[in-house]
Amino acid sequence: MTTLSHAPVSTRPIPNPKRSLITRLNMGTGIIVGAIFCWGTYYAMRAGRDMTDSHNVNKVLLASMLMWSFGFLVGIGALIGPFRWLIGKDLTAEEQLYLAGDGQGVKRYFKYCTDHKVVGIQYLVGVMTMLGVGGTMAMMIRTNLATPGSHLVTPNVYNSLVGLHGITMIIAMIIVATGPFGNYIMPIMIGARDMAFPRLNALSWWVLFTAIPVLCSAWFLGGIPTGWTAYAPLSDQAGPGMNAFLATIIIFAVSTAVAGMNITTTVIAMRAKGMKWNRVPIFVVGATISVALAIPAFPTFMLAMIQTGMDRTIATGFYDANVGGSGWLYANLFWIMGHPEVYVILIPGVAALMEIAPVFVRKPLFSYNAAIAGFAGIAGLSVLVWAHHMYMSGWMPSLNGPFMITTEFISVPTGLLFLVLVGTLWRGRPWMKLPMLSVYAFLWNFLIGGITGVYLSDVPADNYLHGSMFVTAHFHYTLMGAAFTGAMAGLVYWFPKMTGRMLNERAGYIAFWLIQIGFNVLFLGMFMAGAEGQPRRVADYAFVYEHSNMISTAGAYSVGIGMITLLWAVVHSWRNGKIAPMNPWGAKTLEWTVPYPVPLENFDVEPIITSDPYGYGKAAN
């Protein structure tokens, strides 16, 4: 795909970092300053306030949580750059190099490091942690549902489990591909030396990091009773734990906007010479469309959270019908974000599989343009379908028909994605390595997820299925069965580049089959229960649903064991795995032209792109 020019990228000698404030700040100082800001705000605001008034409690808690986040950023040094800009003394060369983590070893992972590869690894570890926490909650939910009348957890705890599992997994899935691979791999794939805004790149990660303890604090504040959708007015009336949810989403929306802007700018403005738009690797296109979609989508979610927060703290009435508010306003704002968000999750996973398929069948990607049209069509239509989540809410019944049509129409660009993958596999001789298995798993899972989605987009069918386990099974098939499968394939595929080692293949295969078989058992069982009428988000159920729930729980345990196996494979291989060659898969994209460890500026010489990235089987390549 590439030729390399021989113009040196850097001739400037790397100076030694000065001992300045920047060198003394790290995650530890961030936590200390964050804790001081948090507790300081808490005690300062408590003083003289009537803490029996729920508005005051919410005010104090929400402010403390947001100040924790701000304090952490102060403590880790995130605001040094803006402050230095303000006073006209920009960071020196030494300081910029120090921030890039040059020569700091493992310590840089605990600092405000601007190197995109460090940020990618931070995201990877963060995502795995979130998946672990969210997965543990899922296991508790399934264990509770294994038999009717189970009292493993109380109904209130069950509600919180469902809500916190939901939001933890949604956040994890939003960043599961664009976080680790969008940061580590994508800049190298386009021949860039870093992200467009390295300091903002670090900011997006550390802002997100501050949301994790905030969300966890919900448990200690009574949990959340609302599910991950946090529908108003229930969220207006919920206990103190709800503040943690609101603060998490507000913080997360900031992180997403910054990350989305950074990735989009990087791809538009920093591609290597010769990398025209039709030569951009498909994963890069998918990740960019996904984050570009997130840029306008998430602020409306943030707005809904701010309005809820205002209702809870200063007694406004956005969602209180007594003073002119409406729960439908929340539902609209939430789903205007909520449905595009599904595609923000899905597209990078599918794009990763499209990146992988040509490599393992040694054929060009079938119809690159159709893939772009598919992604663009999905992104465009995704903002016109939100009210299909509200068919049964009573909001504007006259609009059900139009929204049904736009929703069903979205299966056209989605079908293009299928065609591209099937066309790529067609008459190929696949090299059946672990990443390739995920392509087949995706096709199976997403077929089921997609077809059941057509049922749910249909108003009469939704009338029966709405609010049932059928819906839960459907969105797990799309988010976990499709998007997570794509991300898992990406992890195995890019693991050698990110860690310098090959993933343990045997453990990887065991994990793959346990997860995929368990997943299908779990959610096919759930389709059964849903079709029979079992409602979702309910801690107990009638005996008639016993068998399908038992099947689902058995599948869940298989997924759980598979996830633990995958985690073991990742950790073990990272430490002791076989040393990976520079290009173990024989792929043609740029990331495989750089050694491990990848140099600070990625390329010793500037790459110049002379052909498309999928020229497999062509004589010229």
């Binding site: 990228v9 920009d90 870093d194 989305g260 840029i295 306008p296 602020p299 956005f318 306003l329």
Partner: protein, 201 residues
């Protein structure tokens, strides 16, 4: 040209860095625009729904139609002053100071307006609340204006200080002026849009 305090470890030209920063800010404006769109949607949605006739309950005082525009005046002056500085380099230092002062004074005025909202009522226990959806939306719009004022003032203060420093890359500084101009223009537009919405009682 001295570039003692301006250095890019990735060695891109100031021109490239400047263009990139402008694109980044414009993307952030898209995000902020989505938020403002959401606020305006909330305003008209709740106004037209008029749930329980409580958009504007009887006896609740309102701001005048001009109040939204007066709250946005600082944003508008800042955008115009910055534009004047961009068109005439001789005015740049003065215009930067005008921009900063306009935003600072605008923020103080916005704070004053928020502290003296006429529609705050009290419940039976004497606790204050915003009576009616109109009141709720007003306080949100005012808060968004306040956010724009403060962020704009931060940027403007940076431009004032940097205008007096000589050891900065003039090409990059020129781009940063343009980039800041995009932001100032947007927050002025946002202020006007919110003012138009707020004029529908």
């Amino acid at each position: 040209m001295s570039t003692d305090t301006e250095f890019h470890i990735h060695h891109d030209s100031a021109e490239k860095v400047g263009r990139r920063e402008r694109l980044g800010v414009r993307l952030l404006i898209v995000a902020d625009g989505s938020f403002v769109f959401g606020m305006i949607f909330s305003w008209f949605y709740l106004r037209n729904l008029n749930e329980n006739n409580a958009w504007l309950p009887k006896g609740v005082h309102t701001f005048t139609t001009a109040s939204g525009y007066t709250a946005a005046i600082g944003l508008i002056i800042a955008a115009l002053a910055h534009r004047a500085g961009e068109m005439n380099h001789g005015l740049r230092r003065v215009s930067s100071i005008v921009v900063f002062l306009a935003l600072l004074i605008g923020a103080v005025y916005q704070w004053h307006q928020m502290a003296h909202m006429p529609f705050i009522a009290h419940d039976d226990n004497g606790r204050p609340f915003y009576n009616g959806a109109y009141a709720s939306n007003w306080v949100l719009v005012a808060g968004a204006n306040m956010f724009h004022y403060l962020l704009g003032a931060f940027v403007a203060l940076g431009l004032v200080i940097r205008g007096y420093r000589t050891k900065l890359d003039p090409v990059l500084e020129e781009w940063r002026q343009r980039t800041a101009g995009s932001w100032f223009t947007w927050i002025a537009i946002s202020g006007i849009l919110c003012a138009i919405a707020a004029s529908f009682k």
